[in-house]
Amino acid sequence: MNCQSVVNVEDLYAEGRLSPSRTASVRAHIKECASCSARLKDELLSLKGPSASAPKDLKNRMKALLAKIETEEPPPQAKPWAFDSEMWPVVTSIAIYLGLALLLAWTVPGAPSQRYGQAGTEAQP
């Protein structure tokens, strides 16, 4: 692996999610490359962050909160897919396609389909 390959996979490496064989090759590179080694050391430190322990009653507080949500609020209903704001690219693409298709149907020269014409038979000379 070269330095750029290591740069491109280092987030996975830092999270410990890289496959064992790829991890081994990153490690082999770091051993020989001072700049990658220094950069990854910083990244690993920033990922760990200052150590802190969770409050002791966190579990109970979470349980109480969940129980409150379950009793008070109606179950959330997903927005109908058609009104999903992320759907506009699909709708736009289909609209563009339909426009193109109508344009094609009117402008492309060609005979009406010989399969479904008046004869209604499989037309082969």
Binding site: N8, R17, A78, Y97, P112, Q114, Y116
Partner: protein, 616 residues
């Protein structure tokens, strides 16, 4: 968000948009200036899958790596192996031009599966996929409703008589697609987060689906719907044990019974099962010629014969090796789905559970309907198997442990990676040009047939010559061109064109019969008889061939062969008077010969009458 992260997200959205546009357009699009109004589906499929694949490649390029999560490996490896085997077999098989359209379909289907598997694992993706498929089902169903009421404004109105075919272009395909929408609609209905108004529309859609399946008057479609209902009745409660899923089971069983009663009252089962056994035997014969490695992908198109369902066809094309890889893929998917089922139920993942249930029932139903059912396969809905299977695999990955990711890094800096866009775009556009040119060829092919039907053979030849290699109708166009030469009374040109066709597809349609007619025009009776004989072996029930064969044999003076051929024609169609006329002619010639033998001085004259006298 950095620019690179924004671009990565953009390419992911591009992948998703392309997939959803594909699942919506493939069932709804048609174009009535090509011979098969469904040719545009192939174009949309090819262009769409190329764009999908490139959007995925661009996403990896932007990120600097392509990922394969450890959880996806058991489902991706069999598909990659099958893809590799398909490509190897195509590269080593003869007659690639005729096989190319089918081969491309197989490759692009596997590419779709892999991308959907790797990119669209979430329940939100499943919701969107189901939403757009059922939206397409609404359009197909409502158009079917119009057709059943006789309100079709388009030129193909009544192409299948009273039978409804809608945007799928054929009653069987329409029935199969709508049957597949049954589990998808019910899975949506089960989704605990679904809007209550939309749940009512699901029930309405179910009614539209059922009515349309009835109106197809297609035994195979109704039979398919029954199998899908059974798969859904079993699948939904297995994956989503709840009171609602029991309701869906009851609904499915009721539908199963209703469709069964309509189906058996409607008839058509003897032809269906007859075709089934015929296709099964034909496929078995083909498999026995090359059991291990098959005849190559797309070879069915190069040597058309009846097939006994997609699975046998695949073994004929890819051999036992291909069949084993396919079963490996199917087995991995089934194992993954069953494994995920336990986790989802245990952890109360309701959304994941109901969509996995719907996907399992739909893929199971589709497999049951296509893999062992004979008949010409259509791109849609067969293609739907692959995104559905990919989505099923993606959903089951959520339930698997294993956080490792295998990566293929791109050893380039961001600026250098961005410089790759221009050439990569050029390659993509270069590839997209092919399906568009093939679509243009389909329009030319249809124009050629229009000319031929109007008797303008020169015009037909000009249009047939515009059909490009790789287009689905390319081989048919070569056949049409040769037939047009024959109609123009240019038998020598026709024979050359038939020979060129035989290089592409040795036993295409009635090529040997047509070639025999061309030889007959050249008075080359020996070759004519030989071609008729080959035709009779390939198409033993093609009656017209026996009549022409008998005539050619008469000219050659082979009275025995002439009698056998004429007898065969009369045996196949006992009520047809023209066969008896041919037989009478043969008997007359025999009598003449016998008389000539009795009076040896007139022998020469008798022989001459048997060989040279032109027939009426």
């Amino acid at each position: 968000m950095t620019t690179s992260a924004k671009m990565t997200s953009f390419w992911f959205r591009a992948c998703e948009t392309t997939l959803l546009v594909l699942v919506f357009l493939l069932p709804t699009a048609f174009f009535l200036k090509t011979y098969d109004g469904m040719a545009i589906k192939s174009t949309i499929f090819e262009v769409g899958t190329i764009v999908l694949a490139f959007a995925w490649l661009f996403k990896g390029m932007e990120r600097g790596r392509w990922e394969l999560p450890e959880t996806a490996q058991p489902l991706a490896l069999p598909a990659l192996a099958l893809l590799a085997w398909t490509i190897i077999r195509f590269a080593t098989a003869p007659r690639q031009i005729a096989a190319l359209p089918d081969f491309l379909k197989q490759v692009l289907c596997l590419v779709t599966y892999l991308i959907v598997l790797l990119e669209f694992g979430g329940v939100q993706n499943a919701r969107r996929l189901f939403g757009w498929i059922t939206a397409a089902a609404w359009i197909a169903g409502l158009y079917g409703l119009c057709q059943s009421l006789g309100l079709d404004p388009l030129s193909w109105k009544g192409a299948f008589g009273q039978r409804v075919f809608s945007t799928l272009g054929g009653p069987d395909s329409l029935g199969l697609f709508l049957a597949l929408c049954i589990p998808l609609t019910l899975a949506q209905w089960l989704d605990p987060e679904r809007d209550s108004f939309l749940r009512w529309t699901d029930m309405a859609l179910l009614l539209v689906l059922l009515m349309n399946i009835g109106w197809t008057h297609s035994f195979s479609a109704r039979f398919a719907a029954q199998r899908v209902c059974l798969a859904t009745a079993l699948g939904l409660p297995l994956f989503f044990p709840s009171r609602n899923s029991l309701k869906t089971t009851i609904m499915c069983l009721v539908m199963f019974v209703i469709i069964g009663m309509v189906s058996f009252a409607g008839g058509g089962q003897p032809e269906f099962f007859n075709e089934w056994s015929h296709g099964f035997n034909a496929a078995r014969a083909l498999i026995s010629q090359s059991p291990w490695i098959g005849h190559g992908p797309g070879s069915f198109a190069a040597a058309p014969s009846q097939d006994g369902g997609a699975f046998l066809r695949m073994i004929a094309e890819l051999g036992v090796v291909g069949g084993a890889l396919w079963l490996w893929l199917l087995g991995s998917l089934a194992a993954a789905a069953l494994g995920a089922r336990r986790r989802f139920i245990k952890e109360g993942a309701l959304g994941e559970s109901c969509y996995t249930a719907g996907l399992c029932a739909a893929t199971l139903g589709l497999l049951a309907c296509t893999q062992l059912t004979p008949g010409p396969r259509s791109l849609f809905p067969d293609w739907l198997l692959w995104p559905l299977a990919g989505m099923l695999g993606g959903l089951t990955m959520l339930a698997r442990r294993g956080a490792f990711v295998s990566v293929l890094p791109l050893p380039l800096r961001e600026a250098a990676r961005h410089k790759l866009y221009a050439p990569a775009f050029a390659i993509m556009l270069g590839l997209v040009v092919f399906p568009i040119r093939w679509f243009d060829s389909e329009i030319e092919h249809n124009s050629a047939l229009a000319c031929a039907n109007a008797g303008d053979w020169q015009g037909a030849i000009a249009h047939f010559e515009m059909v490009k290699p790789g287009a689905e109708s390319f081989v048919a166009a070569q056949y049409g061109k040769a037939n047009a030469f024959l109609a123009l009374n240019k038998p020598a040109d026709a024979i050359n064109a038939y020979a060129a066709l035989e290089d592409l597809s040795p036993d295409y349609s009635h090529v040997h019969y047509q070639k025999a007619l061309a030889y007959a025009k050249l008075q080359d009776w020996t070759d004519a008889v030989a071609s008729h004989e080959i035709e009779s072996k390939l198409n033993p029930s093609f009656v017209t061939n026996y009549d022409a064969w008998s005539q050619a044999a008469l000219k050659l003076g082979d009275l025995g062969a002439a009698e056998v051929a004429a007898d065969k024609a009369a045996e196949l169609e006992p009520s047809e008077p023209s066969h008896k006329a041919v037989l009478a002619e043969v008997y007359a010639a025999e009598r003449q010969l016998a008389e000539a033998r009795k009076h040896p001085t007139r022998v020469g004259k008798g022989r001459a009458a048997g060989t040279k006298k032109p027939q009426g």
